[in-house]
């Protein structure tokens, strides 16, 4: 019920232009567009709208593949290897996009500058590799913010105990240091944990990256040479190590990725959780979460230098080998249009168009769903500090080198310095091999 | 002392009773043969003695021990199987020595015991071969060798010769007999072949349908069968059996053939009683071709339908009242089918059985 009310509010606040101004009826009669789309519950709502575009243009869309993110990545790489890239539209992601060299067209040549300007600038930057706009972002923008259990901050005995031990008032953490103190303070393993983090693959490297920047360092320098083994890097990694050693996070956290984190926080046994926008509705839904009603959302904490947010977003790209690029671009524009983003973001995901952001925030403020307003505000704030990963094809490969070393440090197989130095050395070799220097 | 005693031993498979309350005393060093048609329970009985089958009721003792619940290895027995049951992955020598090795005997003693057994059975040359490389007779010998190396109190043989050809079988029979003399152990031997039983046994136990029918020396069974079944089972060719009715002092065999009741049997039958009349081929001989012409003799003329010359004697086939009978001709001359001869039937060697129960009236 709530959802439909939000949508109607949205529709009334935004000027609804005639459906896709750029499209003329029957423009693409008889054209068939083949698409490879990311599958999964939260992504598929949008695809239901495709039939509207088909009706409007006379074209047909043939979804020839629908798979999870990593599967579709693998499939697209296989296609590039086999040269079977004559399909038109592919789902894309900002951290994957640079890998597909030469596969997708520069959308700057097809989409008007005005249209591009309607998107959030940061998102467009993250979609641009080497000056080419490789995808148009859809309303699936990801930056993580802090979810927490409110009840931990209403207990006066706890507050007093905390103050006695750490010397400052217990409040929702605003720095990573406070986050660490509180996580250790709240933890009561194995029944209750202070926090948790994704511990493998790109997930942990992304979080580590974010904290390196927050501590004033960086992952790669301008030459693409690794510098994450700086002091800032060591401080960042130490944070993970400390939480793990204090048993403030579940021991299994190193095997977790996002689904485990989501399930963990929804079980109501984790105090502080840094997570993505897609979870907000899930966490506060009594059907799926035991934490429902007890969930607070705040902007992510800051490091000793700044507040940062590692981010990414989904979008759609058009291949160079597509026979009818105009039709394909038209479909991409449609899927990323204001209309579509309004509809998709109504499901709880974050938009990538400025106007839709404004509309969403306004609607949430005007609506009667306090939780949605709170979380949207937190994400709006968090998005301001968002940065995207380096737009180089080797990003994914560096994460595969780095994450086992991070894990080694966390598990105590290596010291923080050893681990980072080893990782940096291997990444350095990779960059050298790839011809950056 | 290794006498073996069975006391009312039963064996059930589910509801089916395979062995019915068998009791039997087997003396030390005795050679007993269990014989009977297939399915009579003789193998089951042997396997119960061996401990390979559980006993459903009764007791079995070996020596002074009740062995009902003892596993085979504690019964001090050895066994020769129908299919030899050689261990295919061991050489002949290893097969022979296996039980001793299991008993943790020192290697030197095992070697000497194996050599001894191999010598007794003429296996010296084959000691390093695998069973697959042996002929049937050689395998049989290994199986026996394996049984004797242990010097058990009781030997069990389960139809050990049935997979051999006729000539080898005769040969092995002799060897088994010799072996018994040499090892001086109790032997219980199962076979369905009555010739084996007759030639080997000190005592024969004839079984049928899970019951013991008769126990006795081979000659006792041959000469004094307790019923028609024993009479027809033991001896080759089988005893001729004719239906008859007592009429006065005669037995009416067919409408036109009646013979005198042997004098010592006259008191045993009543007038009008239906009986079965049995006699062996040896006791029906053409005139001048028999053992003797003395004693109570009936003379019958019969048309010979077939003559089977065996060399020293000839088997003659004829019909009495539609039933085929066999006769024996000693010092034979050639007989053509269709020839009618005058036969002498030795009445004092005849058997009379009750027509209903088959039990012997005159054994």
């Amino acid at each position: 019920m709530k959802k439909s009310r939000i949508i109607s509010t949205l529709l009334s606040t935004v000027a609804v232009v005639a459906m896709f101004e750029s499209v003329q009826a029957g423009e693409f009669d008889g054209v068939t567009i083949e698409a490879k789309l990311i599958g999964g519950d939260q992504y598929e709502g949008l695809y239901a709208r495709i039939s509207e575009w088909e009706t409007a243009t006379g074209a047909t869309v043939d979804i020839i593949s629908k798979k999870s993110h990593f599967e579709i990545d693998r499939e697209i790489k296989s296609d590039m290897a086999a040269g079977t890239t004559s399909w038109c539209i592919g789902s894309n992601h900002s951290s994957f996009a640079p890998q597909y060299e030469g596969l997708y067209v520069d959308l700057n040549d097809y989409v008007s500058g005005d249209t591009v300007a309607e998107f959030v600038g940061g998102n467009i930057n993250a979609s641009t590799v080497g000056g080419e706009l490789l995808m148009l972002p859809r309303a699936q923008f990801d930056v993580s913010v802090l979810y927490y259990l409110k009840s931990n901050y209403t207990d006066e005995a706890k507050a007093a105990e905390f103050k006695a031990e750490y010397g400052y008032d217990l409040a929702v953490p605003d720095t990573w240091a406070q986050f660490k103190d509180q996580a250790i303070f709240f933890a009561d393993p194995p029944n209750f944990y202070g926090s948790q983090y994704a511990g493998k693959d790109e997930a942990i490297v992304g979080r580590f990256y974010e904290m390196v920047v927050a501590e004033g360092g960086n992952y790669l320098d301008d030459n693409k040479s690794p510098i994450f083994n700086s002091d800032a890097g060591q401080r960042a990694l130490q944070w993970f190590v400390d939480l793990y050693e204090a048993k403030a996070v579940p021991a299994g956290t190193l095997s977790y990725v996002w689904d485990d984190l989501g399930a963990g926080f929804a079980s109501g046994t984790v105090a502080l959780n840094l997570d993505w926008p897609g979870w907000a509705g899930y966490f506060n839904d009594p059907e799926s979460s035991k934490a429902a009603g007890n969930v607070g959302v705040a902007v992510q904490p800051m490091g000793s230098a700044t507040r940062t947010g590692w981010s990414g977003h989904h979008g759609f790209s058009v291949t160079n080998d597509c026979d009818n690029k105009e039709a394909a671009v038209s479909l991409v524009e449609f899927l990323t249009s204001e209309e579509s983003q309004l509809a998709e973001s109504a499901g709880g995901s974050l938009p990538t168009r400025s106007a839709v952001w404004d509309a969403n925030v306004a609607a949430a403020a005007a609506g009667d769903d306090a939780f949605r307003a709170e979380s949207l505000a937190a994400f709006a704030e968090g998005a301001k500090f968002a940065f995207a990963v380096p737009p180089i094809p080797e990003w994914g490969e560096t994460t595969n080198i780095v994450f086992p070393e991070l894990q080694a440090a966390i598990l105590g197989d290596k010291t923080v310095k050893e681990a980072l130095d080893d990782a940096a050395e291997a990444v350095d070799e990779l960059m050298r091999e790839s011809g950056y220097y | 002392m290794a006498n073996v005693t069975l006391d009312t031993v039963d064996k059930f498979y589910g509801k089916h009773q395979a062995v019915h309350g068998i009791s039997l005393d087997i003396a030390d060093q005795e050679f007993v043969v269990l014989v009977g048609p297939s399915g009579c329970g003789k193998s089951t009985t042997l396997r119960m003695i061996a401990g390979l089958e559980d006993i459903s009721g009764g007791t079995i003792s070996i020596g002074d021990r009740v062995v009902n619940d003892l596993p085979p290895r504690e019964r001090n027995i050895s066994m020769v199987f129908q299919n030899y049951a050689l261990y295919p992955h061991m050489t002949v020598g290893e097969n022979l020595g296996f039980s001793l090795k299991i008993a943790k005997m020192p290697d030197a003693e095992i070697a000497s015991a194996v050599n001894e057994a191999a010598q007794i059975l003429g296996l010296d040359e084959l000691i390093d071969r695998k069973p697959a490389e042996l002929s049937g007779g050689q395998r049989q010998r290994v199986a026996m060798g394996r049984a004797i190396v242990r010097h058990p109190e009781v030997f069990l043989f389960d139809e050990p010769l049935s997979n051999l050809d006729a000539k080898l079988r005769t040969q092995m029979r002799v060897e088994i007999k010799k072996l018994h003399k040499k090892v001086a152990s109790t032997i219980i031997y199962v076979t369905h072949d009555q010739v084996e039983a007759m030639t080997l046994a000190d005592r024969i136990v004839l079984m049928r349908d899970g019951h013991i029918v008769q126990v006795g020396t081979p000659l006792e069974l041959f000469n004094k069968p307790v019923d028609v079944f024993v009479a027809t089972f033991i001896g080759s060719p089988p005893m001729n059996i004719l239906d008859g009715v007592v009429r006065g002092d005669q037995i009416q065999l067919t409408d036109d053939l009646a013979i005198k009741i042997p004098s010592d049997a006259r008191g045993l039958v009543q007038d009008g009683q239906a009986i079965k009349f049995g006699f062996r081929a040896d006791n029906l001989t053409p005139k001048g071709h028999g053992v003797s012409d003395e004693g109570e003799i009936a003379t019958i003329d019969l048309e010979v339908s077939l003559a089977e010359p065996l060399g020293t004697e000839t088997l003659l086939f004829a019909e009495i009242g539609g039933v085929e009978v066999q006769a024996k001709m000693l010092n034979p001359r050639s007989v053509k089918p269709g020839e009618t001869l005058s036969f002498q039937l030795m009445l004092d060697k005849c058997h009379i059985f009750d027509a209903d129960t088959g039990a012997a009236i005159r054994g």
């Binding site: 999964g40 519950d41 939260q42 992504y43 979804i63 999870s68 | 003892l70």
Partner: protein, 287 residues
């Protein structure tokens, strides 16, 4: 008498021990599987509960969602099921034909380098799917049989032929040569002799090879995930991944699909397991 008694007690003790051990083993074998079945009937919140909820409640939600439309968590189950069935059955049948003909050649003819051929054939099964999947994909893509039933069937036939050859070879060797000689004297052609006489005798060997081939095709993932694209050819193991998204795994839904996957395999195995034992007994050892 004491000896007898102690033996009897020991027998009883052993029996109890045997029963207990068997029970434990069967539990370990069955519980992880049954747990999946159970989870497919439990609401997600209960599956993920902590502390755990031991008394399960019952819901058909996962099944309802699975059969539901797109957007409601629906997955094109029927299409996957149909694809799996078509691909597994066809590839098994073809692999059996080709494998039997190969096995017959090994069993009945003498030729040079026989052992070499045989081991060589077997080794092709040793190539890990991971190493094979990309080159295979490139070759298939060039021929244009990606995302078709035919492509997967071809791949599975190749995967199952070596093992089928092995099992049937052993089986045909078991059958005395005289059998088909007799049939030929009775007026059969060589083919008839095979089909009417030798094949029926080797039936359980064929059945056991067939069930192995079927289960392999039915459960295969690595190649299927590479060679299939859309609902036109995706098989059920690949369909399982429909329940994973970037952030979540819909475990309850996955269990529901898993149950649908297991049922046909279970029924089939139950039906032919007698042949399976007999087939392995003769086919494998007597080579």
């Amino acid at each position: 008498m004491d000896l007898t008694l102690s033996h009897r007690n020991r027998k009883r003790g052993l029996k109890a021990l045997h029963f207990t051990a068997l029970f434990l083993v069967m539990s370990v074998i069955c519980i992880p599987g049954l747990w999946i079945v159970l989870n497919s009937f439990r609401p997600t919140i209960e599956i993920m509960a902590k502390p755990p909820i031991w008394s399960p409640s019952f819901t058909l939600d996962h099944y309802r969602a699975m059969f539901g439309g797109a957007g409601e968590g629906g997955v094109p189950v029927f299409k996957y099921f149909r694809n799996s069935m078509i691909i597994s059955i066809t590839s098994t049948a073809i692999a059996m034909l080709i494998g039997m003909s190969g096995g017959y050649a090994f069993a009945r003819y003498r030729f040079k380098g026989k052992n070499g051929y045989f081991v060589g054939l077997m080794l092709f099964r040793a190539v890990p799917g991971v190493a094979l999947s990309l080159p295979l994909f490139i070759v298939f893509a060039r021929v244009g049989i990606i995302d078709t039933h035919f492509g997967l069937i071809l791949a599975y036939v190749a995967m199952n032929v070596p093992f089928t050859v092995w099992l049937t070879d052993g089986f045909f060797r078991q059958i005395p040569k005289e059998l088909h000689e007799a049939a030929e004297i009775d007026g059969c052609t060589r083919w008839q002799a095979f089909w009417r006489v030798e094949f029926p005798v080797a039936r359980s060997g064929v059945a056991s090879a067939a069930i192995f081939a079927f289960l392999t095709s039915w459960n295969e993932f690595a190649l299927a995930s590479q060679l299939t694209r859309s609902v036109n050819s995706k098989t059920m193991p690949v369909g399982l991944l429909d329940f994973t998204a970037e952030f979540t795994i819909n475990w309850g839904g996955m269990c529901a699909l898993a149950v649908l996957m297991i049922i046909p395999a279970l029924v089939l195995t139950f039906l032919v397991q007698k042949h399976l034992i007999a087939g392995l007994t003769f086919g494998g050892v007597k080579g």
